[in-house]
């Protein structure tokens, strides 16, 4: 039974391999392979779920490869518990929806076969992260995901900005990955193992320094993957990829991986207050920044992207406050809501051929499926009862509140208070941008002209599926999840739901809705105008990008400029993104290779002499 967990990453991997074969590169075959793979994966995940939930405390380990003893103990295996089972179902279902949807969405795209294979690989990598029993193994999935995101975001490679966005995503997450790699090295060294179970068991006896350093470095990786400040800059640009990919990246994979890692290693993070402080601050900053930027966007997909950044910060904030179940509940709820919103957004974009919100006034009135999906997803995101968002948000806020009270696990009280305040403010701003989105898309009058819901039966059926599936999950999850996912020792047990809290939040959200509705009705104005001149600043995410641009290394800027002027050799110029200084150094080093053997010899002997003298003096 336990070894069946291998199937989860293996099936989509096989689909990716098959899909990469030249013989399978025709559209129908590629679609058949991708869909079969995704369906089987989702089925396996669902089949594995009941037995995992029967006894939520049980961890099923299966170690396939056992590397040599001595210096390096690398165990590769699966670690399948209720957490992995639940997240695997989420990944499997969203991936299936995305694959089905993509068949229609990329109907006229010649590169569909490779795209489908890449999505399969992406799913496989995420599932490997989910079931990995060893940090090194997890790292493999983690890196493959980075690679796939690069390929998929850059899918429209004729478009400059798509290539730029792909390189940017890759480089920025890669910066985080370096931290991650070092963190794994530090923790593995200190604990003598990289096996997740053994590592967690070893947490109490780890030296404090290694614990703090290791967890902080891991946090860097989390920030990269889950798009947290200051490494959040890649996510809004990643919208350059096809819309289903945005759904996949934003809902179930990639960004969820960071949150999943923190949940997976929750006891480790809880053991280091410094790390929790940093995590709490990072989450507080990101959630506010993301929500404000989302409100100010002019572009539908960018709005959703910034919203993802903000909501991820919410989950991480919950985990920082020790609210294990609260964070994971929000992860699930958000995954369904975001998938729904993105797939609906795809329908709208397909109809109006633009991403600009100003061109979309009222379009959803002519598109019932999209409208329904938008309303369900939007209200869930805003946290309005009876949708599950209300419960998940409230439980997150409850966890933050206890952290602010200084009780139980979590960051220091100061950071706790900050986190709680940011959380409260974010609820209201989230309500505001959701209200704005809905007002624009649903406000009368409905536009005239040739506007209809695209005849993508696939897309419609998926949206319908997601709506039903979503609604049921939304209503059922809050009840069941805590009993499914027993919190690890040290974390807050269960979910604190208070009808009072939910009511208060709901009243706040409704007040925001009403205010904006009144405002926009007063003259059919976009609520964003409320921001006045600060809109531009907010839209650019407080100019963090520009700040990076102007920085000494000018990473993103030169990548962008450099990539723009070349074709497929994007990576070539990513070099310059890492730093023109590196290339300049490299050029100046050319002197040492000027071809004269006598200078080689002189440098050689002088080098030896230098070392001889220095060791002779030191000894």
């Amino acid at each position: 039974m336990s070894s069946a967990a291998w199937l989860l990453p293996a099936i989509p991997f096989a689909a990716a391999l098959l899909g990469a074969l030249p013989a399978c590169r025709t559209r129908p075959r590629a679609a058949a392979i991708a869909l079969t793979g995704a369906t089987t994966t989702a089925l396996v995940a669902l089949l594995l779920l009941p037995s995992a939930l029967d006894d939520p405390t049980r961890v099923r380990l299966d170690r396939l490869l056992i590397a040599p003893a001595g210096a390096l103990q690398v165990l590769a295996g699966t670690r399948f518990d209720s957490l992995a089972a639940v997240v695997a179902v989420m990944v499997g279902v969203v991936a299936l929806a995305v694959q089905v949807y993509s068949v229609g969405y990329l109907h006229d795209d010649l590169r569909y076969p490779s795209y489908a294979a890449q999505v399969s690989l992406f799913t496989s990598a995420m599932l490997l992260v989910v079931v990995a029993s060893d940090l090194l193994e997890l790292l493999v999935g983690w890196e493959v995901m980075g690679l796939c995101s690069y390929l998929l975001i850059g899918h429209y490679r004729e478009l400059d900005y798509a290539r730029r966005a792909a390189v940017k995503a890759f480089l920025v997450t890669r910066i985080g990955d370096v931290g991650m790699l070092l963190g794994v090295a530090v923790l593995g060294t200190a604990a003598g193992t990289t096996d997740i179970g053994e590592l967690l068991a070893a947490v109490p006896r780890l030296p404090h320094g290694a614990l703090v350093a290791g967890s902080l470095l891991l946090l860097l990786g989390v920030a990269g993957k889950s798009a947290q400040f200051p490494l959040h800059v890649w996510l809004p640009d990643a919208m350059a990829g096809p819309t289903p990919i945005s759904a996949l990246i934003h809902a179930a994979t990639m960004v969820a991986a960071g949150v999943y890692l923190v949940a997976r290693l929750h006891p480790l993070f809880l053991a280091s207050t410094v790390t929790l402080d940093v995590l709490a601050l990072m989450a507080a900053v990101t959630m506010l920044l993301g929500a404000l930027a989302a409100f100010a966007q002019d572009d539908l997909k960018r709005l959703l992207a910034w919203s993802t950044t903000s909501q991820l910060a919410y989950m991480l904030g919950a985990l920082a406050a020790g609210g294990y179940d609260a964070g994971l509940l929000h992860l699930m709820v958000h995954a369904s809501a975001k998938a729904l919103l993105f797939l609906a957004a795809g329908l709208v974009l397909h109809a109006v051929h633009t991403g600009a919100l100003s061109q979309m006034r009222g379009v959803a009135r002519r598109m019932p499926v999209a409208a329904l999906a938008l309303i369900v997803g939007g209200l869930t995101l805003a946290g309005l009862p009876p949708f599950a968002g209300a419960w998940s948000k409230d439980s997150v806020l409850a966890a933050m509140k206890s952290a602010a009270g200084g009780s139980g696990p979590g960051p220091d009280q100061f950071e706790g208070v900050l986190l709680y305040l940011a959380g409260l403010a974010t609820v209201l701003i989230t309500a505001a941008y959701v209200a704005r989105l809905l007002l624009i898309l649903l406000a009368p009058p409905a536009p005239r002209g040739d506007l209809h819901e695209p005849r993508l039966s696939m897309a419609q059926s998926v949206t319908a599926l997601t709506v039903t599936c979503g609604v049921s999950t939304f209503l059922a999850l809050p009840d069941a999840l805590p009993s499914w996912l027993p919190a690890p020792a040290g974390a807050r047990e269960g979910i604190e739901l208070s009808v009072g809290g939910v009511t208060l939040t709901a009243i706040g959200v409704l007040a925001v809705f009403a205010a904006l509705w009144l405002y926009s009705h007063a003259g059919a104005r976009d609520p964003v105008l409320l921001l006045g001149s600060s809109q531009r600043r907010l839209r650019s995410g407080f100019g963090v990008d520009a700040l990076y641009d102007r920085g000494a290394v000018r990473p993103t800027r030169s990548v962008a400029a450099a990539v723009a002027e070349t074709d497929a050799s994007a990576i070539n110029h990513a070099v310059e993104g890492i730093g023109r200084s590196a290339v300049r150094t490299s050029s100046s080093l050319r002197v040492v290779g000027a071809g004269r053997v006598r200078s080689y010899l002189a440098a050689l002997i002088a080098g030896v002499l230098l070392v001889v003298v220095s060791v002779a003096v030191v000894v």
Partner: protein
């Protein structure tokens, strides 16, 4: 006998060899300088052998090996120099710079 006498002589030979290797442009002259360096090694080995009275005769045996190594090196080295001369009509090391880092 002062052990320092052959040792210092060896160090001087070694240094002269280094000078020759670095200062000479003619490849054959560089080879001669390398021979000086190897002979400095031999002088060291023989002097230390006399001082240590090693029953395995490590110093002298190693000297014989170094002489053999030097002979093999000279054989191959001169063959390479002749090859270069046939291609370039020159044994000037400073002119053998076709292989180099490209200008940016």
């Amino acid at each position: 006998m002062h052990l320092a006498v052959p040792l210092v002589a060896g160090a001087l030979l070694f240094g002269l060899g280094i000078y020759g290797v670095l200062a000479r442009k003619n490849a054959v002259l560089v080879l001669m300088a390398v021979e000086l360096m190897l002979n400095a090694v031999n002088l060291n080995l023989i002097a230390f052998g006399a001082y240590l009275r090693d029953r395995f005769r490590t110093g002298e045996v190693t000297t014989l090996f170094v002489v053999t190594i030097a002979a093999a090196e000279v054989g191959v080295g001169l063959a390479i120099v002749l090859l270069l001369y046939r291609r370039r009509e020159s044994v000037d090391l400073d002119r053998a710079t076709e292989l180099r880092e490209e200008a940016a």
